[in-house]
Structure formats: C-alpha cells, structure tokens
C-alpha cells in the first residue's frame, strides 16, 4: 500500500474522482482482487486508500475498527457481516460489528470459551468453516450459525504483539460457496490494518500512562522540595538534613513521605 503514502498528509480525496491516483492504485492491487470484485475497480481502490488513512488518523480505536469492518463487508466477495474480536486480559469481546447477526454469533463463542473467532485470535491463524452444514471442528457453533442463515465463515487472527490479540470475523450467507482465496487474501489485508490500528492504540495508551506517571512524580517532587525549604528555614538545616527529617518521620509514622511534606506545607500556609 506504499502507493497511498502520498495521501497521509491530511488531504481527503475520498469521493473525488482522481484518475491519476486511481490508475496508480490499480497497478498495485493484485489483479485477481480487482477482477473478482465485480464492483467498479475505483471503489476497491478508494476502500484501500481509506483503510490506509483511517489507520493513521488519531481516532478512537473502536471507531477505526468499525470503519474497517464496514469496508470489509463492502469489499470482500461474499461477506454479509463482519465483526472484530478483541481479547484483552483474557476477556473476549466484539469491539466492532456490521450487524446483529455477527455479534450474536461472536458472543455465543465468548460464552462457550472457544470457537473459530477466539481460536483465530489466540493463535493468529486463519480459521475457515467452508460449510456450516457440515463442520466437524466446530459443530455447535456451526449449528447456531446455520440456524441464522450463515453458510460459511472466515476468521483471521491479527498479527499483534503479546497482550491484546484479536481477530477479524467474516460471515457469509450466500449460496455461492465458501470464501475463496481472493476473499482470504483481502481479509488478511484487512486484518493487517486492524492490527496496526490496535498497535497504534496500545502505543498511544502506553504513552499517556507514562506522561501521567511523570506528572504525578513531578507534583510529588515539588511538594517535597517546598517542605524541605520550610524545614531548612525553621530548623536552620541543610537540604539533605531536611530530607532526613522527612524520611525519619515517614518511617516512624508509616506515612508516605510526600504526605508528610504536604502536611508541613499546609501547616506553614495555615
């Protein structure tokens, strides 16, 4: 998708005809993708272009994954419903879905503790049920799916780091047969984008966490410095001796040193 990097700088060309960029995009798409879609090729090019952009936007993770699911339903041949499973702290949930059917089938698996979506998320593999009317691996899930009119499914694990994992789940109700290699390839691309969005969100959350820890540390430090100043004036001692006074009091009373410092400041300004 490197041909779309020129679009990253905030220009939004979605919905605008741009013959130059579209023809660039077509050259870089797998030919069977463009051919198998049946839809105007420009639509799939726009979808890929939008994928690249939404992943790089600073939008909430849920919104990004929802958009990825919506685009997947539009682009993947035979897809009728798409959902995204996330497993965080050993708890699975659907963070994005295009219809009630997808979420109903996902949640049956979370209750059971296993199923194609969960197994794909945990192993990072592609798990396909070609015919829900005849599946030996997931018989109970397949029966449920069949009852809801779903004939075949495709779950693709997201290639993520340890910790949070996830899967893209694609449900098909059409009679045309199981998802073919074109559908699998496109689905894998979408799962890759979802994984990038996931990684970005995790990095961003980690940075926020670090910043707030640092902010708390700086506030604590400031209080302690002020209390030391008050002690130095009152006790006519050095800064190190002032710290020793705070430390001894903290150890003796089993109170945090920064709380002792705050008490001294509060007394001084009372």
């Amino acid at each position: 998708m490197t041909d779309h990097t020129a679009d990253r700088d905030g220009r939004d060309d979605i919905g605008e005809p741009d013959s130059t960029r579209n023809s660039d995009g077509i050259e870089n798409l797998p030919s069977e993708v463009a051919g198998a879609l049946g839809a105007p090729v420009a639509d799939s090019v726009r979808a890929y272009s939008e994928l690249a952009k939404i992943v790089l936007n600073q939008q909430p993770l849920g919104a990004v994954l929802r958009r990825i699911a919506e685009l997947a339903v539009e682009i993947i041949p035979g897809a009728d419903d798409v959902s995204v499973t996330l497993i965080e702290h050993n708890r699975a949930r659907s963070v994005a879905f295009t219809g009630p059917l997808a979420i109903a089938l996902d949640e049956r698996q979370y209750e059971a503790g296993f199923g194609p979506c969960m197994d794909a998320a945990v192993t990072g593999q592609l798990i396909q049920i070609e015919d829900t009317g005849n599946s030996t691996v997931y018989p109970e899930f397949s029966r449920q799916a069949r009852r809801h009119g779903i004939r075949h499914t495709l779950s693709i694990g997201m290639p993520t780091q340890q910790g949070t994992t996830g899967a893209l789940n694609i449900y098909g109700a059409g009679a045309a047969g199981p998802f073919d290699s074109t559908a699998r390839d496109i689905a894998a691309t979408f799962a890759g984008y979802a994984a990038i969005a996931l990684l970005n969100a995790a990095l961003y959350a980690g940075t926020l966490d670090e910043v707030s820890q640092m902010r708390r540390a700086l506030a604590s430090r400031a209080s302690i410095e002020q209390a030391k100043g008050i002690l130095m004036r009152d006790q006519r001692c050095t800064a190190d001796e002032a710290f020793a006074i705070l430390r001894e009091k903290s150890s003796r009373t089993n109170r945090k040193l920064r709380d002792i410092a705050q008490s001294i400041i509060d007394e001084a300004i009372a």
Binding site: A217, S220, D240, F243, R247, N254, K256, L257
Partner: protein
C-alpha cells in the same frame, strides 16, 4: 560517600519486588532524587558511588513500596551502614 556495597544492598531489596529499575527510578525521582535512570542502574550494579543522601532517597523509595505491601522497611539507610 557511600561505597559501592550500598548499591548492592539496594539491588538485593529491588530483587525482592516486582519492580523494575525504571519503576524504582520513577519513585526515587518522585521523592526528589537527583540522578538519571542510567546512574541508578550503575549504582545498583556496583559501578557507581553515591552520596549518603541519594542512597537514602532511593532506599526510602523502595521502603515505601515495601510498606505498601504491609512489610517493614527492610532496606538500610546510610546511617545504618
């Protein structure tokens, strides 16, 4: 000045916790510690000598963590060494 052995005592205390060097450094920094993280790492490894005061700031940071776990203050301060 502390000898390098004081840093080893601190390292022994740290090894009893789930904290990493970065966690300890943040706590040490929050109490007014003056040295950067790399220097704490060197002190723990016995490769740097610290003043009694800086040792006590780091020791207290660790002892406050132990106190949170309901334990006494096992890491020695400079006047006990």
């Amino acid at each position: 000045m502390r000898t390098v052995n004081a840093g080893a005592l601190l390292a022994a205390g740290l090894a009893m916790t789930d904290l990493g060097v970065s966690d300890l450094w943040l706590r040490y920094f929050a109490l007014g510690g003056a040295y950067p993280r790399q220097q704490l790492q060197a002190y723990l490894a016995g490769a740097d000598a610290w003043s009694a005061h800086e040792h006590d700031v780091a020791a207290h940071a660790l002892n406050e963590y132990f106190a949170d776990q309901g334990m006494d203050h096992p890491v020695s301060y400079s006047d006990d060494l």
